[in-house]
Amino acid sequence: MCGIAGVLAPNLDASQREQAVTRMIRAQHHRGPDDQGLYSQGPVTIGMARLAIIDPANGRQPMHSADGRFTIVFNGAIYNYRELQAELRAEGWQFRTNCDTEVLLAAFALRGAACLPRLRGMFAFAIWDKEKQTLFAARGPLGIKPFYYARLPNGGLLFGSELNVLLASGLVERAIDLSAVGEYLARFSIPAPRTLYQGLQNLPPGHSLEVLPNGRLKTEVWWTMPLPSQPAIRSLNYSDFVYGLRAQLEDTIRAHQVADVPVGAFLSGGMDSSAIVGLMARTGVSHLKTFSLIFDEPGFSEAESARLAAETFGTEHHEYLLTGAQLAKDLPRILATFDQPTGDGINTYYASQMARAGGVTVALSGLGGDELFGSYPSFRDLPRLNTILPWWRKFPQGLQKRIVKGLRSRADARALKLADFLASARDLHELASLQRRVLPEAVRLSLLSPEARAHAERLGPHHPMLDQFAGDLIGADAFQIISAWELRTYMADVLLRDSDVFSMAHSLELRVPFVDPVLLGWLWPQPAHFKHDPQHPKRALADAVADIVPAAIRNRQKKGFALPFGAWMRRELRPFLDETFSNSSLANCPWLDTAAVQTIWREFLTGTDTRAWSRVWTIAVLIALVNRPIPARR
């Protein structure tokens, strides 16, 4: 786990490039406080800040192949590195370390990009080929680790693990992309490949890129969702499925514990994190440390459930009482860690802070369970809506327009969302593409300046990867379609991105055993009715760990992890929000409609809709991010 950075720029000399990369490494010191390194050759300089997890003594980066041809900077962890190491050794590679970085380097040196599907883990890396003078980079299949880049003049490329790192280089401008603002207001996040800043790109999950000697850039998709139907691994009955699932879960838990430093776990008290911790205990982890956030506000804290799980599994359990006052105090520091706006992630920030302070360098999280086992409302609602669409299309267009207009004239958020579905969705993919939108289309457009609105209207309401995602899912059933959309949009764009940024802010490596290509490969083609029981969400997961997770947790009603933001925003966070929504702050956001934004804030203060906070917070974070002081270049 590290932060990586690099500049490929034929028009800059080595000292100019090294100065830029040094600034970039400094800007991501939090990602890798244990070591740092720099390498220059020809037109390239690459560097990294290392958080030493595997073979701490020998895994220095940038790492070179023995013949000096290949040099790698790597962010992430390869869990099957020992298995690959044995294979590569048999092919004649002489290993000098026991580090996953060298295994990745060897795999690429021997097999090129064809090595990517064999990697089990989370990764974003860049490799300079001195002989061919090419720079190759790739990002893991589901997007756990980030890779941002920007083209430079004369065929150059700038890359890094955070946008702040790219900006710190001094080689690119901090200019807001108006289209990205519209995308963010739609869905809490800015989907790859776009970022908040013009010209700065987010390499999408499962993609690779290569800069050729003539400066041309090639990007390719190297991973798509598994085949929807694979009779060879499909379970014949539910018992076989549960048995197989248990074996797969134990396998992924074992794989994700590979480390030469202490490993702990986040434990919210829900089914997913309890299953993770229970399986860790079952697979032999001793002196396991677990971490929970708790709240004073009634109805939000899951402390009892987490304590029950910790007691059952015999963990050393740590709790952190998060209050609105604490958050208000920490907010400037938290905002400084943001590289893109997000409406989420505060919980990960504090849980990571607690875990690092509690003595672990690696923590496992239950993220991904909802997407795999269908416990979001989308798995229930979207198929129902999809059955309505053929009937809806039979209505005369004039009547359709009148109905949509009628729905949009209502203040009810559900009516507005339904209006968006009816106006813009033609099939399940388009329903799924729209369903994670936080602001209804009419509201979103009203918040934008005329120029930004024109950009938003040009791109339309759908997710920018709609065609690619839908094209990957030919032959998939409804459960797979919704699961894939949840995995590739909300999970990748929001949950995993935030997890990376906020865990790395505390130099903590966060691992997500449910987001594992091997587990996904087995689970994906299994019959939907095995994975998902609408009457009992996560029944399959509960059954697979029935012997280790207490019944009180298995039978608990699903409760989304939420912070008491609504109350805090009216009390402790009020001064921050008043300032954020002031005319002076909004003056720096010319792409927003000041009056409309301020109206949203006022309506929140006087309204009673308990869910409205997320819309207000989403906008506030964007405004605050733009208004935060720009760090001085050092």
Binding site: R151, G155, R194, N214, R216, R426, D427, L459, A470
Partner: protein, 358 residues
Amino acid sequence: MKTILLSPELFLGEGGIARIMRLYLKSLCELAAPGEAVVAVVLNDFPGDDSKLPRYSTPALHGVLGCSRSKWRFARATLNQAQRDARIVCGHLHQLPIAWLAKRLNPGLNYYLVAHGIEVWRPYSALEVLAMRGATAIWCISEYTRRQMLRFCPQLDPRRLVVVPNTLDPFFTPTELPPTTPTPAAPKLLVVSRLATTDTYKGIDTVIEAMPHFLRLHPQGQLRIVGGGNDVPRLTALVATLQLQHAVTFTGIIDDAALRAEYANCDIFALPSRKEGFGLVYLEAMTYGKPCLGARAGGVPEVINDHVGVLADYGNIPEIAVALDDLVRHPRDATTIRAHADSFDFTHFTQRLALALR
């Protein structure tokens, strides 16, 4: 065996479907074995042979039946022509139910659908689904169109959906113009498109918006926009707002000879469109050895690769500007580009069609 080609238009207009269906007519005529006949039934054309017909037919053609926009006449002519061992090649999904009905009346008949692009990227009516499921094969102009059809109609057997890429009209070939060399100091960009408010997805406004970025890098750059339509006032206003009058020229609608000259004189062809089923217009530019900028959307990535052009995300203005700059700084090899266009020429098309008919 008789082959019946159904088409909305052949010679009435110069729309994309009419142009490609003419080539289907020519190809089917060339593939007809001795004694086999080809008949075209055309919904919108008027009775009587067009002067261009000889170019697109052989003696195997036994007639073009123009139906003067009468759907009733079109249906009746099709059913009259349909025989037990005939095959029907249907040029538009809307006409497929007629073919389905013909098969109901003549069970030995086979029918095929040519799926072009945007007209099949949508949910289908029950009748359309029924008709598509009865088709012997569906010829999709791109893998993208094939995937869209499977997305909106999962009941279709994927094996029956075959990709038959569009082809260039052999009569639209570069004329003997003096060879041009790239002009990196004053790069000339070309857009060719219908400029209609219904076609804003073509992304012409995004090329215009990218021009200020592009001109910062190439101050002598020029953009020429060929085509006409009711979106011209909006685009002209955009040019004025961005103060680009010195760098952007609207030529209006021009004839074939002038169009050839535009292709020959440009350095880069740019059309970052969101909804191209295939992108024939890029191939036209490529026959002149010109590199193309397209959007990473629709069927375009199947036509534009790294050796012949560059792709950018639709609507991403900075990326479009960088992509244009890339094409100026790293000119693609004109011979490679022409060779790529040649792989979509009429000869290859006829070979692919022959395979698809087996």
